[in-house]
Amino acid sequence: MSDFIGDWHALLILLIAGVIPNQIWRMLGLWLGGGIDEGSELLIWVRAVATAILAGVIAQILVQPPGALASVPGWLRYSAVVAGFAVFMVTRRSIFAGVVCGEIVMLSSKWWLG
């Protein structure tokens, strides 16, 4: 059982470095977002910023890849995304087709490169 839980110190770190830094933004959104009207102009701006920050997170994973993804060369990561996006558009916005195509491009090229 102690293997399952590990040490309490690590769980404390999880709380401080993982849970609180996340929840603070959600609860702030709950607190401030309570009064905004659906369809208001402010909400269009807020949604545009949320979309753009998410785009930044996507770009960060591609430009500064974590862990094992760093073993895939940059040009290959970008071509996989471009190919996936092309298929996504051609298939009338199928997320599944886009993701599968992007993964196939990356895996097959990586395998072919050795």
């Binding site: 470095a17 993982g18 830094p21 269009i44 785009a55």
Partner: protein, 224 residues
């Protein structure tokens, strides 16, 4: 529950959390730790960032800053999701769990599913959908943790690649207004520029400027 099963994003989440479970195992965190991070952090990129920064020997404060910068997006997401399910009778405490469950997948699915759900049932719908997604991910975290030793480098790279692909396409499909599309494209393009500043809050810089420009384009197109 049908909604949980019918979304491709659930599959992507499952695979992503396999990867997070494996990452936690390789960085010598306990299974309970990994499960607690899935249940209480509930944001894939934040968990990947948390585990990899702590694993690389960063201090708790450094890890907390890296995580909180990636989590800023949750703020506008919560703000934009909540008005969709509020009724005049809704108290703020009814929305606490919805706010906790809000992450990219749920945010995207809200815009897809909620228009078909009667307003007074939307909170219950989100509790069901979000709870289902969390359960799926807890299972995936456990399996990933158990399998970690057998994962190849290539497979691990493929799992990490799922996040940008799925986030990009699901956000792109949700772009209904011009402002959303412009924000997505500009947000991608501006991040590498903002990263050159190396400010530690690059994503915030590129996100707020790209979002504001996109809103400006929306206003300009809408006319005076």
């Amino acid at each position: 529950m049908r909604s949980v099963a019918s979304t491709v994003l659930t599959l992507v989440l499952f695979a992503t959390y396999l990867g997070i479970g494996a990452l936690a195992h390789d960085t010598h965190f306990s299974l309970a730790w990994a499960l607690a991070s899935t249940a209480f952090v509930w944001a894939g990129p934040a968990q990947i960032i948390l585990i990899s920064t702590l694993g690389s020997g960063a201090t708790v404060v450094q890890a907390a800053i890296a995580v909180t910068v990636s989590a800023i997006r949750l703020f506008p997401m919560v703000v934009s999701v909540l008005p969709m399910m509020r009724t005049p009778q809704t108290k703020r405490r009814h929305l606490v769990l919805v706010a906790h469950l809000t992450a990219v997948t749920l945010w995207v699915e809200c815009f897809r599913f909620l228009p078909h759900v009667p307003r007074e049932r939307r909170i219950a719908f989100i509790h069901g959908l979000g709870g289902g997604l969390v359960s799926v991910c807890l299972v995936a975290t456990t399996i990933g943790y158990a399998l970690a030793a057998n994962l190849s480098q290539l497979f691990a790279a493929a799992i990490l690649m799922l996040t940008p692909l799925a986030f990009l396409f699901s956000t792109a499909r949700n772009c209904r207004e011009l402002a959303d599309g412009v924000a997505l494209a500009l947000g991608l393009a501006l991040f590498p520029l903002a990263a050159m500043l190396n400010s530690g809050i690059d994503i915030l810089v590129s996100g707020v400027s790209a979002g504001t420009i996109a809103y400006g384009v929306h206003r300009w197109r809408a006319g005076p």
